[in-house]
Structures are given as structure tokens and as C-alpha cells.
Symmetry: C2
């Protein structure tokens, strides 16, 4: 192209052409190309970081600045089949999930990607909606907690070439990557600690037995009991919803047993909160009257006057691992590998909520509830 004087008049009039009552047409790559007197393709090359002759580069930069041009990511995504968006499903933005999302976001940002999040509140219909939504928006990859009802949708996504990564909760079937946590071993160690310091009447506040975490954590409890040759008492296995009220109600039941437990392993944060609320209400002191071990490490457990001994899931490691898998799956060569299944270890954080059982905690001290 000749650095044409004859085109100058035309290009000047192009700038900010249409001002139709408030909503202005955003300038496009075509406007930039005209303004800079280069081909559209050249502007595209510039925008995508490919080499461009110095003179053109300057002209393009000036044009972009003058026009206030902003690339339309949708159009780009449509053509290139890459949205640079990662779908991320969480049940809720709890104190466990929020940090994972936050870390995922910042890690993804570093590779030029963004995270589109969706809370499904454990509602099956919402889970399906979420998959539909992510599929419609053509996310490059979907990260989600496992759900039975999602299996069909996951298969469709995989068939369409979208990698899916399961975390937190496992579900059998689809050939996807999994980033899980060794719930069983961690639970066994947590309960083992209670047994080690002399407790024998150890109860468990188990969550739903229908999901992976719930059954694994209960299995860990049983494993520790067996390993320490302590009899498993059926009444000490309290099964409830994963909620605060679930923890409250079952803790109440445990307290009213003939021989109430001297220590309780609560299988998640919410149940622990419920249990603590009940104990406070009934004047039971932690750890003097009863020892508590929880799962999940939230600020509350660290900052309470009496810190709560707990199993800390490696939140940072989880986010890091997921991010790594995404990077690998989205690279040319990593796309066709067999699925990884990574299980991360947890830490037990000892705080003040666990202590040797009191000598006075003998049989028969039934709670008057």
C-alpha cells in the first residue's frame, strides 16, 4: 500500500461517525484499520501480539487510542473457538469455597483467562442450568463439584471437546480429571488424635452418606476406631444434613445419651457451628467438658477464644492443582492425555478444643436435656 495522501480526507471523517442519541456504536477493528491505513488482518496481528512492522504498529496504536477502540472478545471467541473463560461451579460461596474461587481467579488471570462462577446451592435444577449456561457460553473448561445429575451433561461437554474437572466431591462415571482430598485418611488422623489422648467415647457428626466426602469421612472415623481397637457404638454415629441445624440437632441427641461422648468429630464446618451453639446453650465447655475436632479450617476456628482443632483442606494446593490441569488440558499436547485423578493430603491443625478426657466423665452422667 502506498502511504496515500488521497485517503487522508476519508479517514478523518470516519472518526466518531455515528452519534445516535446516547448509545454510540463502538468502534471496530475495521475502523482502526481504516484510520491506520492498514488491512484488518494487520490490526488483528497487532492485537494478538504477532510481529507488525514498526510504522504500522505506531499507526495502529494511535488509531486505537484516538477511536477508543476495545476489542470485542465475543467476536474473537466465536471465530477462534477460544473464549478464555473457565466455568467454575460452587454450591455456595462459603468460607471454604470462596478462597478457592478467589485463588482460581487470580491464577487464571495470569494466563489471560477469566473465571465465570455460578452458585447452584446444591439444587439439582440449578446444577443443570449451570451446565447449560456454561455450554452456551462456550467456556474453554468447566470446573465443578461432582453431582450425580450432572453426569449426562458432563458427557455431552466432553463429547464436544470441553475438558471437565471435578473437585471436592467425586462422582463415578465420566472420564474426567479429579482433584480430591484424602478425606478418609485425614478423618482417621483427626479421630486418631482424640483416641491417642485417651478418649474412648468418641462420636461422629456425619453428613450425608450419599456423597463422596460424607461416606469417606465416616469411613475414616471407623478406620481409626478399628485401628485403636475401640468399639464402634452405633449411637455415636450421628448422621445429619451438612447444615448448622443438622449439627445442632444431632449434638443434642448425643448429649442426651446414657453415656454421652467425651469427644466429637464434626464432619464439616456448618455442623461444627451448630454443635458449638448447642454446647454453649447447654453450658457445656469446650474442651473441659467435651472435645471437638472439626473439618475445614475457617477464620472462626482460628480466631475464637478457644481455637478449634480441625482438618485443614489444602485450599491453595487445590486451586493450584486445578489451575495446572487446566493449563495442561488447554495446551496442544495435554489435550488427549488420560484423565488425572489427584488426591491431596490434609493437615491436622491442633488447637485448644481437644484435651484429655476429664476423670469425672464417667458412665451415668446423663445430660438433663
Amino acid at each position: 500500500m502506498s502511504a496515500g495522501d488521497e485517503t487522508t480526507i476519508e479517514t478523518q471523517s470516519v472518526i466518531r461517525a455515528a452519534e445516535e442519541g446516547g448509545r454510540r456504536r463502538a468502534s471496530t477493528i475495521i475502523d482502526v484499520a481504516n484510520e491506520a491505513n492498514v488491512a484488518i488482518g494487520t490490526v488483528s496481528r497487532y492485537l494478538n501480539g504477532l510481529t507488525v512492522r514498526a510504522a504500522n504498529r505506531d499507526a495502529i496504536e494511535t488509531a486505537i487510542h484516538r477511536l477508543g477502540y476495545r476489542r470485542n472478545a465475543l467476536a474473537a471467541a466465536m471465530k477462534s473457538d477460544l473464549t478464555n473463560m473457565i466455568g467454575f461451579m460452587v454450591p455456595t460461596l462459603s468460607e471454604f469455597h470462596a478462597p478457592i474461587l478467589e485463588q482460581m481467579s487470580s491464577r487464571m488471570r495470569k494466563s489471560g483467562r477469566a473465571v465465570l462462577s455460578y452458585c447452584h446451592n446444591d439444587d439439582p435444577a440449578s446444577v443443570l442450568d449451570a451446565i447449560e449456561f456454561f455450554a452456551a457460553h462456550r467456556v474453554d473448561c468447566l470446573v465443578m463439584d461432582g453431582h450425580e445429575e450432572a453426569i449426562e451433561g458432563i458427557r455431552e461437554l466432553l463429547a464436544g471437546g470441553t475438558p471437565v474437572i471435578l473437585y471436592d466431591n467425586d462422582v463415578a462415571g465420566p472420564p474426567v480429571d479429579r482433584v480430591l482430598v484424602d478425606n478418609r485418611t485425614a478423618s482417621a488422623r483427626a479421630v486418631g488424635h482424640l483416641l491417642d489422648i485417651g478418649h474412648t467415647r468418641v462420636a461422629v457428626l456425619a453428613g450425608s452418606l450419599h456423597d463422596y466426602a460424607g461416606s469417606e469421612r465416616l469411613a475414616g472415623y471407623k478406620q481409626a476406631m478399628v485401628e485403636h481397637s475401640v468399639e464402634i457404638v452405633p449411637e455415636y454415629i450421628a448422621q445429619a444434613a451438612w447444615t448448622e441445624s443438622g449439627g445442632y440437632a444431632e449434638m443434642l441427641r448425643l448429649l442426651s445419651l446414657e453415656e454421652p461422648p467425651t469427644a466429637v468429630f464434626c464432619c464439616n464446618y456448618n455442623m461444627t457451628v451448630g454443635a458449638l451453639a448447642l454446647l454453649k446453650e447447654y453450658g457445656r465447655r469446650v474442651p473441659e467438658d467435651i472435645s471437638i475436632v472439626s473439618f475445614d479450617d475457617v477464620p472462626l476456628f482460628r480466631l475464637r477464644e478457644v481455637g478449634i482443632t480441625t482438618v485443614a483442606q489444602p485450599v491453595g494446593k487445590i486451586a493450584e492443582t486445578i489451575a495446572g490441569i487446566i493449563a495442561s488440558r488447554l495446551s496442544e499436547d495435554g489435550a488427549h492425555h488420560a484423565p488425572h485423578s489427584i488426591t491431596l493430603a490434609c493437615d491436622i491443625i491442633l488447637r485448644e478444643s481437644t484435651r484429655r478426657p476429664h476423670a469425672a466423665s464417667t458412665p451415668g452422667s446423663r445430660a438433663d436435656v
Copy 2:
């Protein structure tokens, strides 16, 4: 169109046509139209809920199901200039912000929209990146906390016709909707409570005075002091970063004064945590030795053995109000209204961390720190 026998052979071969090594071309609206023997436009009408002849509707539904068709939201957005995505900026997914995002998500979902979130960690560069990102993805509306460095970007967005809503932190200038909280009045009431129950040596742990919340909360403190005719002592105004360590350090300074305060108003959650840590370390009991009032209501404050009296921001109301403004702005008629500026009231939640000053807390009881 004749219900053609002669087309049947053709359409059957269309299904799952191209299987190129793992990544299959997703079926499009065109495939559906062919399969159902209708025009593309008719399928589009069906997808968008417009009336379609019964026979065609059935044919389309069957075709969609057989082909596993999923609408491409990007292509739709590009043409219709509506992405149905709301951009949402948060500094961090803290215990204050996470619930807002969560509630925003579920409210938006009800109107068929999704929330794209971005954590900027109060890093100016990230704030700019976020705006760039949201602009590129053509979000229908941007919700963000106020930032000086974002003003220029906000203006560009507005000029392009994208509504912007400020929340949490205000910033002067751009004509945008604002959803704020009456920090000043809330703070005045919180401090007023301390004064009411007899404290006179009341200190404030103020955050950054350069931002809206920081200056307003300090102003509220001063207002209460004036209203109660209590002299404002400069040493009692402790100014620090909004962080845990900031609260820790300044609390230390306050304790080491000739006449340490008998009550402290901490201007946010993190500073309170820092202050509490220091008090525990130095053996000062709350509320026996010192009363504490905080800002923000997080689970910790509710679940500690000694609950913390605090100012609760109306998180649900904030989300609701933002959602309402979005709906209005995105409707035909609401688009051109003058900006709203809504200020919501906070609640004071009385717990156990505030109590009348101890008779023994006389001048001269200097802390040996």
C-alpha cells in the same frame, strides 16, 4: 413446505456428520433447521420463545434433541448486543463481599442473567484490567466498588452505553448509580452506644482516611462525641491500614497511653481481629477490661464465646437494591433516568463485647507494655 419423503435420506446423514479426532464440530442452528425442515429464522424464533406453528415446534424440538444442539450464546450476544452478563468487581471474596456476590448471582439468574466476577485485590492495575476485561466481553452492566483510578474507564463505559453501578465505596465524578451504606450515622450510633453506657475514654481504630468508608466512619465517631459533649482526644484517634496487623499495632499504641481507652470502635472486621489478638496477648479481657464495637457482621462475631457488638451492613438489601437498579437500567424506559444514589441504613447488633466501664478503670492505670 411439503412434509417431504425425498428429504429424509438427506437429513439422516446430517446427524453427527463430522467426527474429526475427538473434537467434534458442535451442531448449529442451521443443522437444526435442516433436520427439522424449517428455516433458520423459525428455529431462532422458537429458541427465543416467539410463537411457532405447532408442527414446526415439535419438529424443532425433536431435531434439537437428536443433534444435542446447544445455542451459542456468543453468537447470539454479538448480533443482539445483549450478553446477559453482569460484570461484578470485588476487592476480595471476603466474608463481607462473598455473600453479596452470591446473592447477586442468584437474583440475576432469575432474570436469565449471569454474573461474571473479578477480584482486583485493591491493586490499581488489576482494577484497570478488570474494566478492560468487562468492556471486551461486552457485559450489559458493570457493578463495582469505587476507585479513583477507574474514573476514566467508567466514563468510557458510560459513553458506550454500558450502565455502571458503584457500591460499597464512593468516588466523586461520574454520573452513575450508587448503592452505599450510611457509614456515618451507623458509626455515630455505635459510638453513641458506648457513650450511653457510660464510657468517656472512647477510642477509634480508623482505617484509611482517603476513602469514603474510612472518612465517613471517623466522621460518625466525631459526631457522636460532639453530640454527647465528650471531648475528642487526638491520641484516641488511631489511624491505620484496614488490616489485621494495622489493628494490632494501633491497639498496642492505645493500650500504652497514659490513660488508655475503656472502649474502642474498630472501623472494620480485619482491624477488630487484630485488636482482639493483641488484647488476648496482653491479657486484657473483653468486655471486663475494655469494650469493643466493630463494623461488619461476620460469623466470627456471632459465634465467639463473647459475641462482638457490631454494625451490620444490610448485605441482602444491598444485593437486592443493585439487582433492582440493573433491572431498571436494562429495561427500555429506565435506561435514560438520572442516576440514583441510594444510601442504606445499618443495624447495630448488641452482643457481649460492650459493658459499662469498670469503676477501677481510673486514670494512671498505664499498661506495662
